[in-house]
Structures are given as C-alpha cells and as structure tokens.
Subunit: 342 residues, 2 copies
Amino acid sequence: MSVSSSALPFEDIRNLVRTMPTADTGAVEAARLRDAQLTKPAGSLGKLEEIAEWLAAWSGPEWPKVKRPLVAIFAANHGVTAKGVSAFPADVTRQMVENFSAGGAAINQICIAHDLGLKVFELALDYPTPDITEMDAFDEAGCAATMAFGMEALAGGTDLVCIGEMGIGNTTVASALLNALYGGTAADWVGPGTGVDDTGLKRKCAAVEAAVARLGGEKDPLEILRRIGGREFAAMAGLVLAARHQRIPVIVDGFVTTAAVAVLQAMDPGALDHCLFAHVSAEPAHERALQAMGKQALFDFGMRLGEGTGAALAAGLVKAAAQVHTGMATFEAAGVSGKSEA
Amino acid sequence: MSVSSSALPFEDIRNLVRTMPTADTGAVEAARLRDAQLTKPAGSLGKLEEIAEWLAAWSGPEWPKVKRPLVAIFAANHGVTAKGVSAFPADVTRQMVENFSAGGAAINQICIAHDLGLKVFELALDYPTPDITEMDAFDEAGCAATMAFGMEALAGGTDLVCIGEMGIGNTTVASALLNALYGGTAADWVGPGTGVDDTGLKRKCAAVEAAVARLGGEKDPLEILRRIGGREFAAMAGLVLAARHQRIPVIVDGFVTTAAVAVLQAMDPGALDHCLFAHVSAEPAHERALQAMGKQALFDFGMRLGEGTGAALAAGLVKAAAQVHTGMATFEAAGVSGKSEA
C-alpha cells in the first residue's frame, strides 16, 4: 500500500478507495448465530449486539475481540489562526502535545480508565499550513504524503483505533471542509469551538466563507482536502483508509474528526462502513454533519474537547461489547432454559 | 442504622428517609474550582464534568474517586408467574443465579471489561412471594426485613454501587408498582419484558390491573411496596436508602430497578439525588417512569436485559469521569496558556 511510487499521488489514493475490502458477511452471520445462543433474551443487549456484529464484520474470521485498542492523536497548526478564529493562542497546540506526553490531558486519563494505548503524532507544528482564506493548505504531493504519514500510524499494530486531534484553529478548517463538501452557508457549519465570543464567531464565518469561495465550486473531495487542509485532517483520512485495507475497526471522535473522514465518504458512500461514530459533539454543526453523512452516534454527552476523548469513551463500550460476545455462556453450556413455547 | 429494634418496622424506614444527609455543597464547590483549572476549555467535557460534581456531592470531602465499584444483583421469584406473564419459565431465575456464579452471564463480562466487583444476593428463590393478583407480597415485618437485607449488601465496603436484578416475572411487578405510584392505566406501564407475545402482554396487563385494583387506592409508597413486592424491589430500595446514609453514590439500571427506587422518591422527592440513572431501557414504560420521576438517563442503547448491565456500562463512564477530574493537569502545572483576552 505504498503511495510514494507514483507521479500522481492522488491517483494512488483513489486506487485505494476503489479497492477497499467489504464487510465479512460470513463473520457477521457467525456472530449472529452465536449471539442467539447466549444466556439472554434475543435482542436484549441492543446496541452492544450491533457493536459485536460490526466488530465481526471488520476484524476478520475470529470472534470479535479488542486486545490492542489504540488512540491515535494528530496535532497540527493552522495559518488561519491569524484571522482570530480561536479563543486560545496557537502556541497551545504544542503545549497540549507536551501535556499529552506528560500524561496530564483528559485523553490520558480516559486511556488509563479504559486501558487504551495512546500515540501522539506531531505534524510539523512549527510550520503551520498557510492561511486558507488566501492560499491552498497543500500541494498534491504534500497532501498525499501527509495521508501516507497517517497510514503509517497503524504500523505498531492495533485491533481497534480511535482517532483524535489537537490543533488550535481546526474547527474553522472543519467547518470549511464540511461547507465545501455539503453546501449551505458558512454559518450552517460554524460554531463556538473552544469558546469564541460573538465577534470571534463572525471572524470564523468570514474565514470559512473566504476559504470556500477560493475553491470556486470545486467538487473533488481530495482537491477540497488539499486546498482546505489541514495536516491532521489529511493524516486522519489516510489512517482511516489504511485501517479499512487492514480490516481494523475505527472509532471516530467529534466534529473535527468527522469532517476529516467525510472526505472519504464523499469519495465512496461505503468508505466509512468500518467506522463507528462515538458521540454527538456540543459543537452545533456536528449533528448537521452526521445527518448529512447518514451516520448515528452512540451517545450525546455534550462534549467538545477533541483529543479523541469521545472516541476513547466509546472504546470502553466497544471493549465491553466484545467481552460480552466472546465471554458469555450459551444456554446449553450454562443449563439455562430457553423461552417457553407459546 | 438498625431496623430490627422496633415493633413498627416501617417507622424505622420512615425515620431513615426523614434523616437522609444532603449533598456536600462544599465538595461540589471545590470540584468546580478544580475543574476550572484543568487543561481544557471550560465546560468542554459536558456530562463527564457533571458526573464528577455529582460524585463530589455524594462521596465526601476528598476528590471524587472510584476505587471499589460494586455491582449488587438481587434475585427473587414471583408467584404472579402463575398467570403466564413471562416468556421464560420461573426456573430460569435460579439457573441465571448459577450462571452469574459460574461467570457466564452478560453482567460478568461487563464487570470484567470495567473492573467492577460483583455480588449476587439470592432472596429465598424456592419461596416466591405470593401471586399479587390475589395476595399481598409481604407482611410489614417481612418487607422491612428484606429492605434491611438490602442495606447489609453494602457491608463489604464500596465507593460506587450499581444495582441490578434477576427475577422471572418482575417486569410485571415493576409495572404494577409504577401504576400504583403514578396512576394511569395498566397498559401505560406494561411492555414485552423478556419478550412475551400479544396474548402474553394481555395477561400481563390483566395481572397488573388486578394487583393494583387490590390496593384500593393506597397511596403510602411503603404500603404499595409491601403489597406489590417483590423481594428484589424491597432489597434494592433498602440498599439505596442505606447508600444515601453512608454517602455512597448509586447507579440505577433499567425498568425494574427504576420501579424499586421510585418507592423512595415517592416518600421524598430528593431521596434519589445520590443516584445516577444509567440508561433508557427498550422496555417502553421505562421512559415514562423516568419522565414521571423527573430523571434523565445517560444513554439509550436499546438494552432490556437487567442484571445491572446498563448500570455497569455507566460505571465505566463514571470511572473515566473520576479519573479525568483527579488525574488531569492544571493550566499552571502543565504550562499551557489559557483563553486569550478578547
């Protein structure tokens, strides 16, 4: 799955999208058969049963299991912060990366609580992508190379990956991506992010309008990604595409991660079938994005932090669903009577 | 907190309700102060922050922590099964208790996934409470003694308790309790439980109608509990009342556990302030019960198994919330810049 051998790197990405593996329907059938024998009324575990089937569909012929869950956080900086779009200074991106390394962030604690591995990938923090109200975020080679970097994040091995991000200014980029992909007005896709006030919100709207106007109606999702950015978006899209080829299930976090993977769905409506959407963010446009994509999230806890925090909470539920499916006794083995005949 | 010394045992219970401790507002204030210093935008962890405050309110002066979480399951049998109200034979109650002991049930797996202790309490399974369409479930001494048994379930020590139940026929009892407490018709409170068909549903409705009619408009919640039962309900109500006096936060599971604790809320509207409601069950009347009680559940996964499974999933989230609150670095300690001045 090399992306470096071509003179047209996006063509390699398009090939990977064209050759995506599909769900393992045999494994789903086997999971359903086993589920029907477990010591509980049929269907009584609701979403946990659906999660077990989804794991079976995307993790191969064995029973669904989660032994090496990983949270992968991608951090990047954004030239558009020059337009005053964030409540926090751009330095905070690096400071938070250091906080991740020191174990002091929210995501570190959730990883402790749910026994999840954590890897943080810095994407050239000292060289923000250009201000997208004026210039493209990448050239084609740069965008494809960043996607390839995201793909490599799976190299250490994992059987469930949660994607997360850190990047002051990146809700503005996410809004611009979604506006370009799904239409509507800038205001439809802009929200308070980390907590800008009303004038900050107007600056975000203006920045999104300018960035999208610059595209001149471009409809190719990869071109939209290239011109809007940013690095964490390209890396997460690359990771999710690589995970599909390696049959590794993915948990998507909130607003920014959803915008990143929306690029893949715009290329192929089934491109995210191996992804579970963790939560509905408090960022108002997240619900709109999920609706536009036809996706339903597991829960709504009013969270809006990023860092993969929502996805990591969902990973605790997915681990429980896998444990239930693999660990429960069958009616026969436990000597429990089944449903009475009517 | 002995309930055995009185000739009027319900008077002891009423005294415990009258003397319930209230939320530790100082601890809540301290939790809010700490939360404001943690390396995240204010409010960005939504429900996790609320959970941390709730833990602080009910677990005393130290930072919220969850070190000894416990799932307590109460199992009982019900004479009303003679009326054909369940899809499963009554023998299944004992068979499932054996399955819990052998580690084969869904709740065992969720306890493994989230590192929760599990205790199962059998309540005279060979002597079901009488068929409540014809007779009272308890006399006063028997009901109070069963509540006291539930109180003792905390004796081994815990700092977060999830309540769960197992009892073939007990959704019928729960429906009757809720109908007696909140009015309406039997049909408002009856649902498929473990999966009865339409004729089974009619039998459940008839049984609830008969049981509630027998009460003759009784409004005293303890008398309703005594006359409707059953043992797991009385034990769970007792446990939740004892937990309040010991300042141990409680997670309530689904339809049956909600009906059990509704008895306490009917005695005092603040009696369940130390309780978190885990999930909205697929049993249709659970949502109605939560609305009647003014409670909101954390999530809706379409579950309807009981055994404390929904509460145990929620315990994973509560553990994460406590870890986040106690483990995160402050802006100052991590050297992370705060919000920019506007």
